[in-house]
Point group: C3
Chain length 354, copies 3
């Protein structure tokens, strides 16, 4: 398990934080914070951040021991106490959480739990931690410093890169590969068969899925997310991709670097998604199409064709009170005829002698 | 495992049922039923219920040994045999199923399976059952009478309330808490990291998720449902909430008491949902909004803004034969221009000398 | 685990393939292929297929050792080298992948891993393989030649048909049944409770789910898919059904033979879906309705009522650039009034003296 049981409460002096975060400190470098929290219930032991101007009113009233703000808000922050001035307070906050967890968690014990079932021909790197009741199959390769959570399954010939962490109950199928510094959450299934069948006189004939899954470095994959193995080649997830929970990635999909998908997004087979794209919650892409780099899909919006131009695309039925929706939805089913009626009215107007 | 292997077939005398369910019995209190079933294939050993008047024709012809009906249908029921008269037959049926299962299942064996990996510093209550190959980490607390299914994972410092049951293969992350009398189905993942990243020159910088999950009493959570831990504070699920399968609850969400969500519903981060709300299958709510108490969302409908007024809200594209849909969908993409053309026609009419 | 660690690279002589696939061979029957692959990166050791005329240009230039084509493309294929002529190249390819995997995988070792927890009263057939850390409960029945993956759970009284394979970490609940030659992918949960509650003064009263799940022969079920047990009777999946990943099948649903559903499709309770239907990705059906045989639902389309006529049905908001969508969506909320305005214009035209 990557969360060590006896997490300690971290303590940081502000001077130390300023140095590690590359921020300018206003205040006493020896002042200590022991908690990161939101502005509204902050105490003198708490460090907060403000990245959005609409929280400035709360800032003045907060009891926080220290706040992270941009240079633009230096004066407001200064009036109330200690502050870290950062070029990008939100990014500074992100890095602060990383320092926090690193100190709270400590170095994971490099330890193979005796209840884990590790094949004699698996290749286990240095400083690897393998949790209770995990299964590591033949010829699997676990990189240096990797953490395999309790009850995980790592299939034959699969590999986990250095410092990658698998939370409990992850399934990594045979001959599937994850790069370095990844984080895979519980219930994720990497390498189930792609959904491929040929019709055969009213029945479905299985197309065995002969490919694998290749996942780059610095990838995070959410809980219960599924990434299927390719039919002939591999399903590919490039470096820095972030997938939320319950996301479906079908076989032969290719996802470009640093693309992110929120919960319940879904990508159908053989689709190629560019780099730096985002899919909002529940968004989707049909099979066999291509999205360019920097394409963004709104919530629940489905790309039904290739998109070559960067930008934000949306297709979501607007919500309304049910009575209004019912009337509008009923009319929508006659929309094409309404257009014809408008056309007729226009024609009538044009041809009518005035 | 919460389903005991050797379930016996329950036997109930009608008099006993009437007493336990608070219903009025018409018929012989010594008559026995051994099965709950639907009206259409009922036999003399079967007890049925009718809560909807449209099943009354079937009622007269049913061979059921006993039927549960409301006072309004007393006479029809009386003509055919034994009956339980209940103020709310559907509710009476629900309670009947509970009596049934309690008798069939019996008291679960309080037993820690020797293959379970229970940390020496975990705190296990009285009459706790822990299934084979479960993992209970350091400082976890399992309440009295709780049932931890086979192959479950309970993280460090997590807690499970009294009489709560975890089906096999549930993951309860470190420092996440479930109240009493809950039921969590297989594959549910409680406490994976929320999906939080700060953009950093085209890459995503992880925001470590420092909060937990707090779940109240009498909560049921469906199979493969995900509830993420909060970023700074906790994700909160209040008492009596019922979540179906494959539901996604993002970080920092707050769900009010007795709200229910059907399968594949999804709630984005930091959203606050009131009490007594319902989300139909696949409904969703975007992030950072608030739904008042008693708001109901229709199937696949997405609340894209806060809703302060109770009621039913819908946003679903009506299904149609594909040819009609294609024409209407194409026209929909010109809808705004159609409105302009109507406006032009109206203007023309107004200004034209008649 | 159904994927044996030491998969060998299969070798097939073309003459052997022609015989086993019932295809006509053009070329040397002793020529060997060792890889199935796409046309574009094929090598002389590779066998490919072409089922779509638009790949013919690639065909001529491919270095593939052998290609599977239909009689219509015999001449083009003949000009470039060895070929298998098949009535249906795609189906021939599907069968080829099956031969391939059968040879690569070999016969799974019939072996119960010593770490598996198998109840003394479970009934284990001949040539059964049970992976590490699997749990088989009391009175469960595992058919001849079945493969139970690592860390699977098979509940009390459940049964797995002959030659059915469960991938690692499948949950098959108590008294649920799968037929022969099935394939269940990791994370699938079969037999969680259906979502049934009776309202009781603002709280939800649980309706215990007393039924089971009955799954026919030759069924494939995707990763993290959920099939709930019935309330009183059983949820039924007939022979030859194929479900992709993250599919939700609610209680009491009946799915007819050879119906297929792509990823994230969802079917609500008590709905009856005919045989030979298809649901595209994310499609859905509300509860208590019936779809006839041969009904096909488009991507994300929700059947909100029964459909008695075979055919393709769609209901999906077309995606557009966000600015256009915003204008059209706003107008959509006034659509009913637009219709009234058209009607008024028409009326005005009719009554106006020309």
């Amino acid at each position: 398990m990557h969360r060590v049981a006896s997490e300690s409460v971290p303590r940081f002096a502000l001077g130390e934080l300023a140095a590690q975060l590359g921020a300018e400190l206003i205040g006493d470098p020896m002042q200590v914070v022991t908690r990161i929290g939101p502005l509204d219930n902050a105490m003198p032991d708490t460090i907060c951040f403000v990245s959005n101007a609409r929280y400035l009113p709360q800032l003045s009233e907060s009891k926080a021991g220290c706040v992270i703000v941009s240079a633009a808000h230096r004066e407001i922050a200064e009036q109330r106490g200690a502050a870290l001035i950062a070029a990008d307070p939100y990014l500074c906050f992100a890095k602060l959480t990383q320092l926090w967890v690193a100190r709270a968690r400590g170095v994971p014990n490099a330890f193979v739990h005796p209840s884990a079932v590790v094949h004699a021909e698996a290749e286990i790197g240095r400083d690897v931690s393998i949790g209770p009741l995990a299964v590591i199959e033949q010829a699997a390769v676990i990189g240096d410093g990797a953490v395999i959570g309790a009850q995980c399954f790592v299939g034959a010939g699969a590999s986990v890169g250095a410092k990658t962490r698998l939370s409990p109950q992850v399934v990594l199928g045979a001959r599937c590969h994850i790069g370095a510094r990844g984080l895979i959450h519980s219930g994720a299934v990497i390498g189930a068969d792609g959904f491929g069948f040929a019709p055969n006189e009213g029945r479905w004939e299985k197309i065995e899925q002969l490919g694998g899954v290749r996942i780059g470095d610095d990838v995070e994959i959410g809980a219960n997310t599924c990434i299927d193995r390719g039919a002939l080649g591999d399903t590919v997830i490039e470096d820095g991709v972030k997938l939320d929970n319950l996301v479906q990635i079908a076989h032969n999909v290719h996802i470009g670097a640093h693309t992110a998908m929120a919960g319940t997004a879904a990508v159908s087979g053989s689709t190629h998604i560019g780099a730096h794209c985002t899919l909002a919650g529940g968004a989707g892409v049909v099979g066999h199409v291509t999205l360019a780099d920097h394409v963004h899909l709104g919530a629940r919006s489905v790309a039904t064709h290739s998109i070559s131009k960067p930008g934000l695309y949306t297709g979501l039925f607007p919500i309304d009170d049910n009575a209004s929706w019912e009337k509008n939805a009923a009319t929508l089913r006659q929309l094409h005829r309404l257009r014809d009626r408008i056309r007729a009215l226009e024609k009538n107007k044009e041809t009518k002698p005035s």
